[in-house]
């Protein structure tokens, strides 16, 4: 087909093309952009569910009240800590696992199944089984492990609620990191690696100078995608600690402001803080993904 025919062909298709694209775009507009605009409006209004008449434009006073409230700064810090711990643990653990599984091991298929499994466990299940079967200080499995080494049992959720939640979430995301890194390792040029080995490069040098540079891009993508989901960690908090300053993140703060304190204005403001936060990361991710569209 000549180039001119291709363009004619395409312009002939553009009418139906738009028609077929429209429903998907409409649903996304209705479920994301429209409510986001309403959230912005709420965040600038005095709106309490208990006083329905109290709505009206109040400028930035919801934001001021939110920032001044004793819950806000801890929630922001908790969100950042949670993301940092989960990213560090899942990427370090995932890299270790990926390197192990990429080597010449027996039964790699079975190993993959074991490693990927936690990713498919719904958040309430993983949170409750970690809390009650593993971390429980009296009869949990970790208490037994500690006793084996003559250590006192550690009361995870009383002493370190955020760390406990972060460990559970890290366990859910470690398979994702491991699988992506394994996929990337397997696309690595074997010959290059073998040549380096023949030239006497140590395994550490190969990791440092060949593999890690190759993995930089997948690691960046893991960081961004996990962060997008980690900004919204909610169920794990709801079913373990049920909130509290020590373990409330931004997502949970929005829930408690709106559903427990009926303060729609402040909750909307908190939600928008999370949105701004996510947007900063989104810019980077969209750039990385946009590049792959050209390839």
């Amino acid at each position: 087909m000549t180039a001119g025919a291709a363009i004619r062909q395409r312009s002939y298709l553009q009418g139906p093309g738009r028609l077929l694209l429209a429903p998907a775009i409409l649903l996304l507009l209705a479920a994301s952009i429209a409510p986001l605009l309403v959230t912005i409006k709420f965040s600038l209004s005095d709106y309490r569910l208990l006083f329905p008449d109290s709505s009206g434009f109040v400028g930035l006073s919801n934001y001021a009240r939110l920032v001044a409230s004793p819950d806000f700064v801890p929630a922001l810090v908790n969100t950042l800590m949670l993301i940092a711990i989960v990213l560090a643990a899942s990427i370090a653990g995932g890299l270790g696992l990926a390197l192990l599984l990429d080597g010449s091991v027996i039964g790699r298929g079975g190993l993959r199944l074991l490693v990927i499994s936690p990713f498919f466990v719904m958040p309430p299940v993983s949170a409750l089984l970690w809390k009650n079967l593993l971390m429980q200080p009296v009869s949990g499995f970790f208490a037994w492990l500690a006793a084996l080494f003559g250590l006192p049992a550690y009361d995870w959720f009383s002493h370190a609620p955020l760390l406990s939640i972060a460990l559970i979430v890290a366990w859910q995301w470690l398979p994702f990191a491991a699988l992506i890194l394994l996929t990337s390792l397997q696309s690595f040029d074997r010959e290059l690696r073998e040549a380096a080995q023949l030239d006497g490069a140590s395994p550490a040098a190969i990791l440092r100078h060949l593999l890690l540079p190759h993995l930089a891009r997948p690691i960046a993508i893991i960081v961004m995608i996990e962060t997008i989901f980690l900004i919204g960690v909610f169920a794990e908090i709801l079913v373990t600690t049920g909130g509290g300053t020590a373990s409330t993140d931004l997502a949970f703060l929005v829930y408690s402001q709106a559903m427990l304190q009926y303060d729609i204005g402040a909750a909307s403001a908190a939600g928008l803080v999370a949105v701004v936060f996510a947007n900063i990361l989104a810019i980077f991710l969209i750039r990385a993904v946009g590049r792959s569209l050209e390839a």
Binding site: L28, V38, L111, M122, V239
Partner: protein, 274 residues
């Protein structure tokens, strides 16, 4: 040669030890689900020497709550995934075979809506659902979860459709096939593996979704996520029972996940890692 074999044995040992550690919480849950409540809290824990029982499974299946939630989960996850495909297949066809100057921008815009945290839109949607009677309804969840997973599906299908040679579709068009026939009888069979893995991925994501399903439903439409979350109340703490309920809730998507793990990487990274 011998050092190589030894190296392989050691690597295998480490790999299995690490992988079993990762899967241990699930294996432990499976074991606990066959214990009595008393044995589930015994200290030191029993590993294999306990009276194996199916009583927990029998108890949960006998009560209506689990089945009620299971049906809701199947309807909500299945319904939203079907809706996603119904919207994403035409959209992906349009972007792959009738691209315009704006296609790239639309793809990236779809991706950006996935990056909007649910709490950013939670309150308006909650109030709207309250006023329109969509709270605690399966329809409400189906619509929302479809919107949540549509970007991922559109991307996965778009990258799949691009591998389909456009000449085949053109030939069908020359032979007088309508657009509907082209989509259903020509494209769908050619791209079936991609469509199936897209369905399974969004089904899994919808099955496990734990923000909307915990906040928008109370009794009638509760899926398994809410059924399990109810165990967090103090009177719900029976661990053998919790274990059995957990196993029953995760097995369907675990099986699906095992089958589709390779497409998972491509889908969740929006094609950036293949």
């Amino acid at each position: 040669m011998r050092t190589r074999r030894r190296y392989r044995a050691i690597a295998t040992m480490f790999a299995w030890a690490a992988s079993l550690t990762i899967a241990f919480p699930l294996l432990w849950t499976l074991l606990t689900s066959f214990k009595t409540e008393l044995e589930a809290v015994s200290f030191p824990p029993r590993f294999l020497s306990f009276d194996w029982t199916l009583a927990n499974y029998r108890g949960i299946l006998a009560e209506g709550d689990y089945l009620h939630s299971l049906i809701n989960s199947v309807i909500v996850a299945g319904g939203s995934s079907a809706l996603v495909l119904a919207l994403a297949i035409p959209a992906a066809w349009s972007m792959a075979f009738a691209p315009t100057r704006r296609t790239r921008g639309i793809l990236l815009w779809m991706l950006s809506t996935k990056m909007l945290p649910p709490v950013g839109v939670f309150i308006p949607i909650f109030l709207f659902y309250r006023d329109w009677g969509l709270l605690d309804s399966r329809t409400g969840l189906v619509l929302l979860l479809a919107a949540a997973n549509l970007p991922i599906a559109a991307w996965m299908l778009f990258s799949n459709f691009r591998d389909v040679p456009g000449e085949i579709l053109e030939a069908a068009r020359m032979d007088g096939a309508s657009l509907w026939q082209e989509l259903v009888s020509v494209l769908a069979p050619l791209a079936l593996p991609g469509i199936a893995s897209t369905f399974f991925l969004v089904f899994t994501l919808a099955w496990n979704e734990s923000f909307w399903t915990l906040n928008l439903v109370t009794t009638e439409a509760t899926p398994l996520t809410a059924f399990i979350a109810a165990f967090s109340s103090p009177q719900g703490l029976f661990w053998a029972r919790l274990s059995a309920a957990s196993i029953l809730s995760i097995v369907p998507v675990l099986l699906i996940g095992w089958l589709c793990q390779r497409q998972l990487v491509r889908g969740l990274t929006f094609g950036a890692v293949k």
